[in-house]
């Protein structure tokens, strides 16, 4: 039997690594992958705690977490694709324009094409 603390330590490690990916890697896709890692660390926490107390609630929480992650990721991936298509942005730092600027650039591109 694995003590609960060990599972929690593993989950915390996974969460920290996901946070490190989000903070250190500034590519948009890597940020999303780091988010996935953090979600999975949380899911491991929920499942381990649920198993420790013999309760199905941890697994229920994990299933809802998966649904939320899927919904988040679909929209986020389309936003990444739009950012790449309109601005050619792959990194987070390239998305620093305000809205007016972006509109101007979009209009200019529309005029030239």
């Amino acid at each position: 039997m694995i003590p609960l603390t060990h599972s929690l330590v593993i989950a915390a490690l996974l969460f920290t690594l996901g946070l490190a990916v989000v903070l250190l890697r500034r590519e948009l896709l890597f940020v999303l992958m780091g988010l996935e890692l953090m979600f999975n660390g949380v899911a491991l926490t929920a499942v381990a705690a649920g198993q420790h107390w013999g309760n199905a609630d941890g697994q229920v929480l994990t299933i809802f977490l998966m649904a939320v992650t899927a919904a988040e990721l679909v929209v986020a991936l389309i936003l990444v694709w739009l950012a790449f298509q309109h601005f050619g942005a792959v990194r987070v730092d390239e998305l620093s324009r305000l809205r007016e600027d972006a509109k101007l650039k979009g209009n200019a591109r529309g005029d030239t094409s």
Partner: protein, 163 residues
């Protein structure tokens, strides 16, 4: 034996997650992320949550990572433009970790009795389903509405991008 497999799987998950921090190419990182998700699925199974383990393989490693890889193929990212994609160099690490995972599953399935696996308590999918559609029914409806909203948002954003 059970503890060894558990900690080995946890080490695989952490190593694969750590590799994402240092890798350059997004496809390699996606491969390591798939390995990490599969290792987590095995961890869930070892903890005694078979339903979540199956859902983890199907939803995360199956569906969500396919979305990731599809977007990477569409974006056609390269470290430097003009250089050919040096994909065949990075497959050894994920392959080795996956082989370790496969061997662990082989060991687990090779054991005679299921309760010999050492897990103290297995919460069956039946109990999870009863909880899901009993006290948590409202949350299931909310999740359905959330998925519908995500569907509408994805459709709207993709149409707007095309126009």
């Amino acid at each position: 034996m059970y503890e060894v497999i558990f900690y080995l799987t946890a080490a695989i998950a952490v190593i694969a997650a750590g590799a994402i921090v240092v890798l350059r190419h997004p496809v390699h990182a996606a491969l390591y992320l798939i390995v990490a998700l599969l290792a987590l699925a095995l961890l869930f199974f070892l903890l005694g949550a078979p339903l979540v383990a199956a859902l983890q393989v199907m939803l995360y490693a199956g569906a969500i990572m396919v979305l990731f890889l599809f977007l990477m193929m569409v974006m056609n990212l390269r470290p430097q433009p003009g250089r050919p994609l040096s994909l065949p160099v990075g497959w050894q690490g994920p392959a080795l970790l996956s082989l370790l995972l496969w061997l662990e599953i082989f060991l687990l399935l090779g054991r005679a009795s299921p309760d010999d696996a050492g897990s103290a308590m297995v919460i069956e999918p039946r109990a999870v389903g009863m909880a899901l559609f009993g006290p948590y029914l409202v949350v299931v409806e909310a999740a359905a509405i959330l998925l519908l909203a995500a569907l509408v948002g994805a459709l709207y954003l993709s149409r707007r991008g095309r126009a």
